[in-house]
């Protein structure tokens, strides 16, 4: 963060001198805000790219490779841009700048929780995410994998950590408000829906049922929140419901279509086998 640099002009009145100080304070606040907006945008872009990549996950062997690549990119993101955000924020009231970083944070949570679901078949908790955004050793050396970012021209973080420099021993952390985490989860449902739609095409029926159940559970959670949460949630709830409807309709279609599959043809259609299509009373054909 650039220090205030009021350059009093020769003909300044006391009032103008004072306002030069204000100008410099407002500018540095605004500059920090802008820097955070840019970094947040970088986080959004990279998170969206990881999500795109994760949608490629289908077969076992490929999975491992893609998931490993994703793991690496998350490490880079967390050690790079996200860490820089944490450093910029150190010593500031994070809520003053929340609106600047919120879009990036939510997209990161969306990507990370999608990855985590693919890897572990469960939803990552808020504490787990916070853990990943906590950097032991405080303002230590920048993460080794820091990506070559467009912000290269800025002063290197270790040299000048700004207002927070007094607390070198404390772990550096990018504070994650619970609301942001939950809003990220709400976005996750869109990706789960997309994954379900692709699963239908690639015949991974088992996963469709699983995704459908998961989406229903998330939906229940949000129904219980209702309109008590931040206003954004209400807006996202509508999208969530749409995603849920799409998934439920896809599962429904799989079911009714599956009901008329002649058993012997199953192998031709789906590469993966499953315990599916027990009924045989399909229509005259």
């Amino acid at each position: 963060p650039p220090e205030p640099k009021p350059e009093p002009a020769a003909d300044d009145t006391p009032v103008t001198a004072m306002f030069r100080g204000f100008a410099s304070q407002l500018d540095s606040k605004h500059d920090l805000y802008e820097r955070l907006v840019k970094k947040s945008r970088d986080v959004t872009i990279e998170s969206k790219r990881i999500i795109f990549m994760l949608h490629r996950v289908t077969s076992e062997e490929q999975d491992r490779q893609v998931l490993e690549e994703a793991a690496g990119r998350f490490r880079q993101l967390e050690g790079g841009t996200l860490r820089q955000i944490a450093e910029e924020l150190a010593g500031h009231d994070p809520y003053l700048y929340l609106r600047a970083i919120s879009p990036g944070l939510q997209e990161y949570i969306e990507a990370l929780s999608f990855y985590h679901y693919l890897l572990n078949d469960r939803v990552i908790s808020c504490a787990e995410v916070q853990q990943r955004l906590t950097y032991p050793g405080g303002s230590a050396e920048p993460a080794s994998g820091a990506e070559p970012s467009t912000t290269a021209g800025e002063p290197p973080p270790p040299a000048e950590t700004g207002p927070g420099e007094g607390e070198v021993g404390d772990p550096l952390r990018l504070p994650l408000p619970y609301h942001e985490y939950v809003l990220g989860l709400a976005d996750l449902t869109g990706e789960l829906m997309r994954r379900c739609i692709s699963s239908v095409s690639s015949g991974q029926l088992e996963e469709c049922w699983r995704l459908c159940a998961l989406l229903r559970t998330i939906h229940e959670g949000f129904v219980n929140i209702g309109n008590t949460g931040p206003r954004e949630i209400t807006r996202k709830l509508a999208t969530l419901r749409q995603s849920l409807t799409k998934v439920e309709n896809a599962c429904y279609q799989l079911k009714v279509r599956g009901e008329e599959i002649p058993r012997h043809m199953l192998a031709d259609v789906f590469s993966a086998t499953d315990d599916y299509g027990a009924h045989d009373d399909y229509a005259a054909d």
Partner: protein, 227 residues
């Protein structure tokens, strides 16, 4: 000076009056918030009928949800005590939404248990309010109807999930129910824009359920007992 003193007295009086009303409104709001909390819990509980295993467990789910009725009734009783008898409609907006939701919940429970339509009387009894203005805190007719129209949307979703869970009979029965409900609403001369829009939703829900019935029929999945 005399007139000025007088004027400030008058305004102090107005001020006191407005503060009273303000705090009444505050109390109502806080009471409604508790009611909403319980209503949300009931809704959440009922959501599980859409899960694969929920469809086989409807009676148990209903029992669990109905376990919250006493709390709902307590909330309505408390609310009713706060609202001056002749000012129901002054504060109606505060509880309108949650009451519509409760009408929906009650009607859904009745449908799940009996496959019948809950009447206004049945809903009022279930949540512990009156039907006639003379008897105090009431269930407004339009709120009840709004609840029924939410029911239709929930049922159309339920039909889809029933089929997914392997229950091929339900769509035929729900189609019949919604078709009757739709005929009922057609009898009303809906001036209320909100209801009218939701009624359009019911037509859409019915169409959706008819398409499910179609999907089953064309695939020969229409169960025998239906003809």
């Amino acid at each position: 000076m005399d007139s000025s003193n007088n004027l400030s007295d008058v305004f102090l009086q107005y001020s006191a009056y407005m503060e009273d009303e303000q705090s009444l409104r505050e109390e109502i709001r806080s009471q409604v918030r508790e009611l909403e909390q319980t209503a949300r819990e009931m809704t959440t509980l009922l959501q599980s009928v859409h899960q694969q295993d929920g469809i086989q467990n409807i009676p148990a789910i209903c029992e669990k949800a109905k376990g919250l009725y006493p709390t709902i009734k307590e909330h309505y009783a408390a609310l009713s005590k706060k609202v001056p008898k002749d000012q129901y409609y002054r504060f109606h907006d505060h509880w309108r939404f949650v009451t519509q939701r409760m009408a929906f919940v009650a009607a859904l429970l009745v449908y799940l248990e009996t496959e019948q339509l809950a009447t206004q009387q049945m809903v009022a009894d279930a949540i512990g309010v009156a039907l006639n203005k003379e008897d105090g805190f009431i269930l407004d007719l339009e709120d009840y109807l709004a609840g029924l129209l939410m029911l239709s949307s929930e049922l159309s979703r339920f039909v889809v999930n029933s089929v997914t869970a392997g229950d091929y009979l339900r769509p035929f029965r729900v189609a019949q129910f919604l078709s009757e409900l739709s005929a009922g609403f057609r009898l009303l001369n809906l001036k209320n824009d909100n209801l009218r829009k939701r009624f359009d939703g019911l037509k859409y829900d019915l169409k959706k359920v008819e398409e499910v019935v179609y999907d089953l029929s064309i695939r020969g999945l229409k169960p025998k007992q239906e003809t």
